[in-house]
């Protein structure tokens, strides 16, 4: 059994008196697509935030590629190969799509103050290559025609596509998606499913996806983890989880589609 690429044990965190996560644990195997579901307030986004470094858990251990990353800052984790999107899509609204992509793809050594003042010619030489790569990625999400528009003018669905392109830029090992299908037009949802499957097939990237859209989960996930009130409730393949009485009970009365 190979080491899972993400291994979470005993994850706990509380806000004030509220336990958002209580001894939660789950894994993501290499090349696996895992869904993280649960009713509102079950701790899914909190778990994602702990995993990606935006929150510091009070207890528990998070291992990524076998190394502990608990409590590291988000940029360090991102640089190690774990990228994420946000429930409310984050992009740079007052920068063009190409600018967004350039930032996402830039090497840290080019982003120093000294290189910006003293290494101008070097940067100038590297720029065409960077722009090519940026254009490739924009083409892969069919946003090429908007490359010089400010990201803020894009529609919600287009912004999500941009966010996904940004996450792909440095070929990460793991991608965390926070409700990628929420509020997205049903036809586009199908494209997302195809996109995620395609990426996994081509590059072996692992995914952890938070979603409420059960169809989406069923179409794309190998394995599903269910949280309720911060605790593990169940885990297994989508068709089993779909029929699991405990899961159904927890979701009773709630719509199964986003």
């Amino acid at each position: 059994m190979t080491t899972p690429i993400i291994d979470i044990k005993g994850l706990s965190i509380a806000f004030g008196g509220l336990k958002a996560l209580d001894d939660a644990a789950f894994q993501v195997g290499k090349g696996e697509i895992v869904g993280l579901i649960g009713p509102n307030g079950s701790g899914k986004t909190t778990a994602l935030n702990c995993l990606s470094g935006y929150l510091k858990p009070s207890a528990g251990e998070i291992k990524f590629k076998g190394e502990a990353i608990t409590g590291l800052s988000p940029d360090v984790i991102a640089n190690r190969g774990l990228m994420r999107t946000f429930q409310v899509t984050k992009i740079a609204r007052r920068m063009t799509l190409i600018e967004n992509m350039l930032v996402g793809s830039e090497e840290p050594s080019n982003e120093t103050l000294t290189s910006s003042i003293f290494g101008r010619s070097g940067l100038r030489n590297k720029l065409p290559q960077q722009i090519e790569r940026a254009r490739e990625l924009l083409a892969s999400v069919k946003l090429s025609h908007l490359e010089n528009e400010y990201a803020g003018v894009l529609s919600g669905g287009q912004q999500r596509l941009l966010a996904i392109a940004l996450v792909l830029v440095r070929s990460p090992d793991v991608i965390l998606l926070d409700e990628p299908a929420a509020g997205v037009h049903p036809t586009l949802v199908g494209e997302f499913v195809g996109m995620i499957n395609g990426i996994r097939k081509d590059t072996g990237t692992s995914f952890l996806i938070i979603e409420h859209n059960m169809q989406f989960i069923a179409d794309v996930c190998d394995n599903v983890v269910v949280l309720d009130a911060g605790k593990n409730l169940a885990s297994g393949p989508p068709d089993l989880i779909h029929k699991d009485p405990r899961v159904l009970e927890v979701y009773l009365g709630k719509s199964q589609d986003a």
Partner: protein
Amino acid sequence: MIELGLYFSALIAIYAIMALALNLQYGVGGLLNFGLVAFFAIGAYASANFSIAGMPILLSMVLATVIAAIAGALIAIPTMRLSIHYWAIVTISISELIRVISTNEEWLTGGTFGMPNIPQPFAELVPVSAYSSFFAVFAFLFLIGSYWIANSVAESPFGRVMKIIREDEDFGRSLGKDVSRFKLKVMALGAGMVGLAGALYAHLTTYISPQAFEPIVTFIIWAAVILGGKGNLKGSILGAFIMIALFNSTRFLGDYLDINAVTIANVRLALIGLLIMLTVLLRPDGILPERKKEF
């Protein structure tokens, strides 16, 4: 009259350098530095002290710039995580603290009496009659250098990261950018530039005292950046020009109309306040808005 014009030209250059620095920090980086005048003071007092003690003036100015940059970094470190409003409040408090210290510590700054007899660069080489022209050119050379640096930074990958930080820090982190380090560098760079402006000011006026370092200086630079256009470096130079012109043109009104000088000074200030409000309300992007970068 021409003398005065040359003096004001040099002053415009000095204020323009500061406006460029602030625009880098705020327009490009989104940092709300309300404590600019502190670095202005540090640069001025440092260069004054060094040059009076006998150090060559250019070296004094370089050292003053470095000291101001270090001060900027030191201030950035503990305040890194604060929200923009808190940052504004803390930076203004720090600058006020520095002003109080400079008012009290006579051994360092001459206290309220200030520091007179600050030497001027190349004074022995340039004939007295031509010195005003010389200094104006001297100051403008530094302005050109500052603009070149500011522009290089703004257009570079570093500049792009700054813009991302301006938009959304967490987004920047999610792309692997060490936000705190970028903020630190921008603060240091901006502070250094303002310190350089301070050093120039000390050698231009040959006398500095705490009265020259009141918060109003910070506010004038802010007005220059907002009016000129945040995110647009040429706009900052324009804004500085407008502010100095505004601030000093009404000086002459007092000669023609029978109005008290203090009243005139305050009318000028009222106009600046009005300009800030009007710009924010009617033309929030300023006269020269930030240009979209197309590839």
